[in-house]
């Protein structure tokens, strides 16, 4: 399970949309590759596909399922949840209506919706926020995907419901062997869920590390600052939180040099404001920071 964490505007959701080729014009992928099944004979570069092509549609909702922050953005108000899941199943597999219905009931059971045979006839508005997100997850699982991308799947939910949905995602990942890319702004959710973590800032991955290492020994000053600013349930009363000075710059006003340097407490004079630190190597732990380069 890969956790992607960052504040609003860091590009974490845009990365997910780029993978699924859902970028609205005039936005476009300028360069780079998105490899599905890398190294396998059926390897595909998704950036080479036409977003509207049949091949891309087979990937989107087929090989890769998407779970949204607000499940209503994936669900239609006009159809029952059963109809929508059945349609998603049949879009990717040659099943009869009856077979697809049986599979939809099974899916609703897998996401722990009580009485799935009855609930399959419900409309989304008849369900609570927590149940709707379960339906959103069932819909993402409809075509038995290899990868699930969950974009802030619990941000709109109450804490006890959030705990239930996170437990469900963890269980599904274990039982179905699906890979999960979990996008969140919450370091708590990352600590509870991820195996590996990518920390994003202003459109770049500034640090990548296994979760234990990231929390025990964060290497990028931004990661350290983010971790310190999380509210602490053991705080002494009136304890101040560590803050990061300033705010995330507007994407059009990207600073020269290291994008974090105007807010960085460990800025190196004469260097960070003019030079850009090396990007991190794919899949290898590291931080895009001159301090980390020096220490490596």
């Amino acid at each position: 399970m890969l956790g992607v964490v960052g504040e609003s505007g860091c590009g974490k959701s845009l990365t997910a949309r780029a993978i699924l080729r859902l970028i609205d014009r005039p936005g476009r992928i300028v360069s780079g590759q998105v490899l599905l099944d890398p190294g396998a004979p059926e390897q595909q570069d998704l950036t080479a596909l036409d977003p509207a092509s049949r091949a891309m549609q087979a990937v989107r909702g087929g090989r890769i399922g998407l779970i949204f922050q607000e499940p209503m953005s994936a669900l239609s108000v006009h159809y029952t949840i059963g109809n929508q899941i059945i349609e998603a199943i049949r879009a990717h597999a040659p099943l009869s209506k009856a077979e697809a219905r049986a599979r939809a009931v099974a899916l609703l059971g897998e996401v722990a919706i009580p009485r799935p045979e009855t609930r399959i006839g419900a409309y989304p508005f008849q369900l609570s926020g927590g149940l709707r997100q379960r339906v959103g997850i069932a819909l993402a699982l409809a075509a038995d995907p290899a990868i699930l991308i969950a974009d802030e799947p619990t941000t709109a939910l109450d804490v006890t419901t959030q705990a239930q949905i996170l437990a469900l995602l963890r269980r599904l990942q274990r039982t179905k062997g699906v890979a999960l890319m979990l996008i969140t702004h919450d370091m708590g959710v990352i600590a509870q869920m991820a195996d590996d973590v990518a920390v994003m800032y202003l459109g770049r991955v500034v640090e990548f590390a296994p979760v234990q290492r990231l929390f025990a020994a964060p290497r990028h000053p931004y990661t350290r600052a983010l971790l310190r600013s999380v509210p602490n349930l053991r705080a002494v009363p009136r304890e101040r939180l560590a803050t990061i000075g300033g705010a995330v710059p507007h994407p059009e006003a990207r600073p020269v040099g290291c994008p974090f340097h105007p807010r960085c407490p460990e800025v190196i004079a004469g260097r960070c404001a003019s030079e850009v630190p090396l990007p991190i190597a794919p899949d290898r732990p590291g931080a895009s920071c001159f301090h980390a380069e020096a220490g490596a």
Partner: protein
């Protein structure tokens, strides 16, 4: 002396249906809620959506008329007035003493007004002279950490955190006796959230603010509040001093809320199970204790008997039938 005493507050909303919009039932959004806020104290009112916490806040601000109960407010030492039965007209001179900080810093500021005018508006309404307003706006901007030049700019030029600072300056303009903050940091990014939490802490220290801090989880509450009241389906289920509540909750719902906060520590994974089921519908609450269908400690008695809120340890009130015999897990 307390700045606010809420005494057995009730608020019901009619459920209307059909062509004639006849009343077919009532949602008891707030039932028998009592608490007090001391001068200079911050009380957090915590609960999940639909628990009635915002309805309580709106009753105190008298944006809603309560169905029953008293809201005794004391703007100065020695003068106390019950806000619950007052008419709009009678409320008008009192409104300046209770101010609100809103959750959404984007929706709560008029985009067509300059920041200086937004902050000065409560003073304008209360008849503060123009020269005094101008001077006070400068003081307030400085107090919340914004540059004086912000005065002549419009809200769109500011980030979410800066807008929340503007909202706080506006709330403090008339030196209110009580500030009601409705989830003031839940819409903000973590790094900005930390800045606003620290600002509220500074203001508490410098101005001796009395505050009702409404929140939906127990994360930042630990940092900002002196005491915590937890609500579930319209009722207060626990009230305790902050440290006591986190160290040893006395209601199973508080225990569940504490367990549900995702801990920023990978070593604490899977430590606590998520509570089962969903929040009860306030229009159709279960009999007995409203939490019993989700409670791992529920016994037969909980299905029938509505537990009373009572002092189970010094300063620590719980509405759990088994509060005296249970030892619940906190964070230590």
């Amino acid at each position: 002396m307390n700045v606010l005493e809420v005494d057995r507050l009730y608020k019901e909303f009619p459920i209307r249906s059909g062509f004639l919009q006849r009343e077919t039932g009532r949602v008891r959004a707030v039932q028998d809620v009592s608490f007090a806020i001391g001068r200079g104290e911050t009380l957090a009112l915590v609960g999940e959506s639909g628990c009635g916490k915002t309805t309580v806040a709106r009753c105190i601000l008298r944006a809603l008329p309560p169905t029953g109960g008293a809201i005794r407010f004391s703007p100065q030492e020695g003068s106390t007035v019950d806000l619950a039965p007052l008419s709009r007209r009678a409320l008008r001179p009192l409104r300046r003493h209770i101010q609100m900080i809103f959750q959404d810093p984007y929706a709560s500021l008029n985009p067509r007004m300059m920041v200086g005018d937004i902050i000065a508006e409560p003073m304008l309404v209360s008849g503060v002279p123009a020269a005094e307003r101008q001077a006070r706006v400068r003081v307030l901007l400085d107090l919340v950490g914004l540059p004086a030049a912000a005065r002549t700019r419009f809200p769109h030029a500011f980030s979410g955190g800066q807008r929340q600072r503007i909202g706080i300056a506006r709330a403090l303009a008339l030196d209110p006796a009580l500030v009601v903050a409705d989830e003031p940091v839940s819409a903000l990014d973590v790094s900005v959230q930390a800045q606003i939490v620290n600002l509220l802490l500074d203001l508490q220290d410098r101005l001796g603010l009395s505050m009702l801090f409404v929140a939906r989880d127990l994360g930042v509450v630990r940092h900002v509040s002196d005491r915590v009241a937890v609500m579930y389906v319209g009722r207060i289920v626990e009230v305790a001093p902050t440290i006591a509540l986190y160290a040893r909750p006395r209601h199973p719902y508080t225990e569940a809320l504490l367990a549900a906060v995702p801990k920023a520590d990978p070593a604490l994974r899977d430590a606590a199970a998520a509570p089962q089921g969903e929040v009860a519908d306030p229009a159709n609450p279960p009999p007995g204790c409203a939490f019993h269908p989700r409670c791992p400690y529920a016994v037969e008695r909980c299905r029938v008997e509505l537990p009373a809120l009572r002092e189970v340890a010094p300063g620590n009130f719980s509405a759990c039938n088994r509060a005296e015999e249970l030892t619940l897990a906190g964070v230590v």
